[in-house]
Amino acid sequence: MFSIFIGIFPFITQNKYYLSVGTFLGINTLLILGLVMIMGFGGLPSLGHGAFYGFGAYVTSILNTKLELSPLIGLVGALLLTGIVALIIAIPTVKLKGHYLALVTLGLSFIFYTLGVECELLTGGIDGITRIQRFPFVTTDRGYFLIIWLVTLFFLLLSFHIVNSRMGRALNATREEEIAATVSGINVQSYKVQAFVLGCVYAGIAGWQYAHYVTFISPHCFTPHLSVVLVAVGMLGGVRNIGGALVGALVMTLIPEFLRAFGDFEILIFGIMIVLVAMYMPEGITKFIIQGLGKFIKFKKPYRA
């Protein structure tokens, strides 16, 4: 099982550009993993993932630049804030039909952007925050690559465990047959809330990673548009697949290049792509990739045939 993870350790490259792409890949993987937990396992549509990403980034940046606190404290802050906001949003909405959560989270992403722009004293307004510290003991690009991936892999592992255990089963059951899940004693709402909060916290941590890597952030990094793209890419990658997060991240990091070729028609093409994938491959493309690559991939869950 662990073989895949090891397969992702290409220490090899020294090239700055590749390292930077690779590092962003790490951040995006964690980010999309969060969405996989929320949508794929929780079955909840979240259109505010970008906002939680932003919350994490901003909390740590503010704590770091205004209060001179270490990034580690920033991490705790990011965790807490995203967790609490996610909790507040999730509790009343998971009882209701899915599109409530979708729209509330969409609203949240708009709000976040507004907050980011307006609360100038705190957030630096449109120009954002600059001169965020890097991690204290990490100096090289290589080092950053490793640290970020270390964090991401840690959470990949956590998610993998969750999915293959009591909680994972409960989430799957809830998604497939809610009534039957309830009859088996599963508190459906509680699990949905847990999945949501978990996923949002992942996004917050990814935001923390981003802030301390790029060292400057602004509201433009965390627009509602991003949230929609994340959902699209998450679904493309494979909504119920831990590995799908990686695929999704790959798509997300590489697709802008691909789309740029279309010039003005960028968004149109992207939109059409989303529709097609959602219609005909709602499970995402990872399944196809797995079948194609056959032997290498061992996403074996203990109880599956």
Binding site: S165, G168, E177, A181, S184, A305
Partner: protein
């Protein structure tokens, strides 16, 4: 007098003017098999829903007691983990999960690892998973699906799915198991196996409440039968008495008939 396991007291519920259940009271004694029969629309599935807590408190009158304590404060999932399990008329297994996972879900309320435990896969989680995995295998063995443990539930034949649902229900080690038309869609051979299974379940100390149309099954294995019609209790008694009861005969066969 030993207290009944389940006690339904004066339950009434209406849906938009239609009285689905009117002033229904009955008991189920511990470790007995009680049948519920009645024409379609008699309210059989509705009373199950009331017992399982699918209605808000202000939607119905009356009360339901399990081992003497009222269930009215308990939410649906709490009643389930509180000792009542159910299978459905239209089978509700988890189609994209394997047979063994389906059974393990049944045991969900008996497991205790939470998200933190699961995330780091501590020894608590690992031990639990192993214990319940093996237990689930045994349940599958009991219903004859051991070899298909890793099959996706949706790929199993319908009869097997029904049995799987029963195994899932048993896995929660309930005090009371409610079955809504378990023999639906089964042939005679399957019904025979079902009877044996149900008797085996009773042998494990579980009380059964079975809603059924299949008279062969009902008359053969139940200790007591409740007859319902138009949301009301018609009569409640032993199978032999029910068969001779004039009102019951009238309901099923109409007025002017001779029962030879």
């Amino acid at each position: 007098m030993v207290e009944p396991l389940l006690s339904v007291k004066e339950v009434s519920i209406s849906f938009g003017g239609i009285k689905a259940i009117q002033n229904l009271s009955f008991d189920v004694s511990s470790n007995k098999i009680k049948g519920v029969i009645g024409p379609n629309g008699a309210g059989k599935t509705t009373i199950i829903n009331v017992i399982m807590g699918r209605f808000a408190r202000d939607q119905y009158k009356g009360n339901v007691f399990l081992t003497g304590s009222s269930l009215s404060r308990l939410k649906s999932y709490e009643r389930a983990s509180g000792g009542i399990a159910q299978t459905f008329q239209l089978v509700k297994i988890f189609p994209n999960m394997t047979a063994i996972e389906n059974v393990m879900i049944g045991a969900h309320c008996r497991m205790s690892s939470n998200i933190m435990d699961n995330a780091i896969r501590n020894s608590k989680t690992r031990k639990e998973e192993e214990i319940f995995f093996n237990e689930a295998l045994i349940y599958l063995e009991d219903i004859g699906l051991r070899e298909k443990a890793f099959f996706l539930a949706r790929n199993l034949p319908y009869g097997s799915q029904k049995l799987l649902e029963i195994a899932r229900a048993i896995a929660s080690k309930p005090k009371l198991l409610i079955l809504d038309e378990p023999a639906g869609g089964m042939n005679t051979l399957e019904v025979q196996k079902l009877k044996d299974l149900l008797r085996k379940i009773q042998g494990k100390g579980i009380t059964l409440l079975i809603v059924e149309h299949n008279m062969d099954l009902i008359m053969d294995i139940t200790d007591e039968i409740l007859v319902m019609n138009f949301g009301e209790k018609v009569t409640d008694g032993r199978p032999e008495d029910i068969q001779k009861n004039e009102e019951v005969i009238k309901i099923y066969l109409g007025e002017e008939t001779d029962i030879a």
